[in-house]
Subunit: 114 residues, 2 copies
DNA sequence: TTAATATATGATCATATGTTCATATGTCAA
DNA sequence: TTGACATATGAACATATGATCATATATTAA
């Protein structure tokens, strides 16, 4: 399967589009965030945390999942700087790292509810 | 592995959190959108289309991917109502379906650039 | 230190996903 | 209608991913 015979059909648009595509590393970071939110288990966790801070045990109850499963997902969210945590005795409390994630969620809600 | 012995550690927070988690079908739709944006190839397509309307051939050039691969991804984006298309002769032009997706992208960019 | 609780992590496995190649469909011109 | 081009789709394959189970770590109390 070859590229369009006439090479590029609409040069001006292609240039504009290319300029609008973020750099590879930025693009990758963006996909990472979306990927983090693309799993129902993780999105549950994130929407729960957008209400208030919760410990792993609470999150397991909210999500109806095992604590192990929740912990695995939290690790992913932690690595992506989507959640922060603080230890308090035996418990570890998680909360959203910043408000951008909240914005992402409310935007997607709007999109869905149309 | 059992649930927390004391059942639920923080009842009030858990209730708030549960109330904040969207209904299953809404949650699913949200994850679908995020999943659509969670692949580098698709995100490239979407960021390109957030600049201007493009045909499949243009998109293949912008993304540096085969037209077949692009077409497969466009199908997914189409199904999720993230892109619209119109046929003009032999070409099919794609564009974003609404502005919420643009917002999602700019939000994630902000998050990344912090 | 030992036991108990809360959380984290590694290994495994079944499933999902993206790409490629081949083929099909749709459109237009000759 | 036939041929050429643009796009779409199906099948197959390799890779990625999430859940589970077992085990490890961390904290506190006894």
């Amino acid at each position: 399967m070859e590229r369009c015979k006439e090479k590029i059909l609409h040069m001006a648009q292609v240039k504009r589009a290319v300029d609008n595509v973020p750099d590879p590393n930025i693009l990758q970071s963006m996909t990472d965030i979306f990927k983090a939110l693309s799993d129902p288990s993780r999105l549950k966790i994130v929407t729960a945390l957008s209400a208030c801070e919760l410990c792993v045990c609470d999150l397991a109850a909210v999500c109806g999942a095992s604590e192990s499963a929740v912990s695995h997902q939290l690790r992913i969210l932690r690595n992506l700087k989507i959640v922060r945590f603080r230890r308090e005795g035996k418990s570890v409390f998680y909360r959203l790292d910043d408000d951008h994630v909240k914005s992402l969620i409310s935007q997607s809600l709007q999109h869905v509810k149309e």
